[in-house]
Symmetry: C2
Amino acid sequence: MATDHRPLTLRDVSEASGVSEMTVSRVLRNRGDVSEATRERVLEAAKALGYVPNKIAGALASQRVNLVAVIIPSLRNMVFPEVMAGISHELEETELQPVVGVTDYLPEKEEKVLYEMLSWRPSGVIIAGLEHSDASRAMLKASGIPVVEIMDTDGTPVDCAVGISHRRAGREMARAIVKAGYENIGFMGTKMPLDHRARKRFEGFTEQLAKSGIEVMDQEFYSGGSALAKGREMTAAMLERTPELDFLYYSNDMIGAGGLLHLLDKGISVPRQVGLAGFNGVELLDGLPRRLATMDACRTEIGRRAARIIATRVAEPEAPVEPVIELSPKIDFGDTLRRR
Amino acid sequence: MATDHRPLTLRDVSEASGVSEMTVSRVLRNRGDVSEATRERVLEAAKALGYVPNKIAGALASQRVNLVAVIIPSLRNMVFPEVMAGISHELEETELQPVVGVTDYLPEKEEKVLYEMLSWRPSGVIIAGLEHSDASRAMLKASGIPVVEIMDTDGTPVDCAVGISHRRAGREMARAIVKAGYENIGFMGTKMPLDHRARKRFEGFTEQLAKSGIEVMDQEFYSGGSALAKGREMTAAMLERTPELDFLYYSNDMIGAGGLLHLLDKGISVPRQVGLAGFNGVELLDGLPRRLATMDACRTEIGRRAARIIATRVAEPEAPVEPVIELSPKIDFGDTLRRR
DNA sequence: TTGAAAGCGCTAACAT
DNA sequence: ATGTTAGCGCTTTCAA
C-alpha cells in the first residue's frame, strides 16, 4: 500500500538489493558484466518495488534520447497513420521510438511543434513535406541530428528525403488519361493552398495535358465536411454545369469514391461515358461497387525507408547518405479508367 | 555556418548576452521579475544563436514534465484519431502536450508501452479501456499521477473513467430493433477477443434480445482486410446461408456500410425487407446512398473530458474526482432502421 | 532585479 | 565483477 508518493529511484533499488546504484543501473540496461546472481537479486528487487526507470535523468546523463520526432500534417487523413505504421514497424527492431506531432497543415504550428520536439533532443526527425518556414529549416539544420523529409521529392531537402514526385504523378495520370482517349477533363480537389503535394500533382497534371493541347475544362475545390459526400456533391454540380466532361480527376480517393457513387446512381456508364481517377490507393475503399483508378502513394514504404535512414544514421553517424530517394508509384487502372 | 555540433546551452546564451544563466532561464520561461532591457537582450541573443532549450534538463531539475501519455489500441481505426483530436484540442489551452502510444490491442504491448511512457514521468495518463494486465494496473496505481481510462464505463477504473457503457449501447440497439418489429437477427463483427468494447456491445445486445425471447440467428466474425469489402462478403455469405434474416447488426460502421452496398446491389429493400445498423457514427460514410443506422460513440467528447480531468488535476492536485463519467449516446436511425 | 550554489536521477569514465 | 566520482543542463532556493 503506497502512501508516500515520491517516485522510486535507483537508490531505492540499490538499497533493497544491497548492490551499488551503478550495478543496478547496469543490470537494468543489460550493460557490462554483472554476475548472474547479482543480476537476479537486482531484477527481483526492482520488480518487487515496482521501479520504473527515469528516462529523463538517463537521457540527461547519457546525452542520448532514443526518440524519433515524426511531424505530420494530420492524423485524420489515413495516409499518415499508414506512414506511421511503416515507421513504427521499422523502428520496432531498434531502441528508437517514434513520437508524433501534428501541424494541421499550418506552417506556424509546424514551427511550434518542431521547436517543442527538438527541445526533447530526439535522435532524429522525420517530417512531412519539403516546404517549411525559414525558421523551421534553420532549426532542423542547427539541430545536428538526421532529418528525413518525407512524401515529396520535388524540391531540395534540408538533409535527405524519401517520397514520390507528385508532379510526375500528376503528369503520368494525365498521360494515361489522354492515351485512353478522354478529352474533356474536369478536376476536383481540396481547397488547400498549404497542401503542397496536392498542388504539385495538379500542376504536373495540367502541364502534361497542355502538351497534348488539352486544358482542364472545369475545376472545383472544397474544404471541410465528409469527403465522400463532398465528392458526390461536387461531381453532381460539375456534371450539371459542364455536361460534356468525359473524365474526372480527383485529388484524393475519398472524393473520387463519392463521385463514383454519384455516377453509378445516375446510371452513367463508367468508364465508357465518364472515366474517373483519384489518388492514394486507399484500401479502405476496396468494397465499393467498382474499383477507382488511382495511384499508390507508397505510404508504408516511405515510412519504412525514412525510419531505416534514421536508424542507420544513429548507429553509424558517418554512413553515407543518399540525399533523395524517389519511389515510383504505378497507376492502378481499377475499373474506372479505360486501358489502351 | 555551424561546424561544431555541440548543441547550444543556456551558458551560450548567457555569454552572448552578458547575463547570468539564471536570468536567461527566467526570461525564457517568463518567470520572476526581469527588467525589460535584459529581457530583450536575452531574447535577441537566444534567437540569434538559434537556441532551443533542453527540456530533458529542465524536466529533471524542475521535476515537472508537461506530457500526457495517451495509450490507445490503434491509429487505423478512425475512432482513435478522433479521440486524439478531442484531447489535443482541450490541452491546447494548457502547457500540457499529448504523446501517443499504440498497443495494437495486445495486453503485453500495452504493458510495454505504458512502462516506456511512465519512464518519461508524464503528468498524467489517458488510456483506452478498463481491461489491463495486473502489472499494468499496478504501474498505473504506483505512478502517483492522474489516470483516466476512456471509452468504456463497464468496469472499475484504477483512478477514474470517461466513456459510454457498451453493454447499454448493445441493449438499446436491441430494444430499438425489436420495437421496430424485426425478428430474425444476424450479427457480424471483428474476430477480436481483445476488443472488449465490441464484446460488451454484443453481450448487451444478445442479453436484451433474450428478454424478448429472441436469439441471434446467425453470426460471423472476421479479421484483417478492408472492412468495407469484408462487410460486403460476410453479408452476402450470411444471407445466402440464412435467407430469412430481416436485420443485420454490425460491430462497426465500415462493415455495416459494406453490407449496405451489397443489399442495394442486390436490390433488396432497406429497411423494409432487411434492416441494418452499425456502431460509431463515422462521418466518413456520409456520402453513401443511404445513411446507416448507428450510435455515436462520443469520441471527441470523451477525449475532451479526459483531457480536462488531467489538466484540472495537474493544476489542483486536491480537486475532487468523479470516478466514472458515463456519456449517453443516442441511436441515429439513419435510413436503414425502421422507426416506430 | 540579479546572481551563486546545490542538486534533480541517472550514466560515462575511471578505479579496484 | 563491482564501486566511486563527476557531471549532463537546467531550476530551486537563497542571498545580495
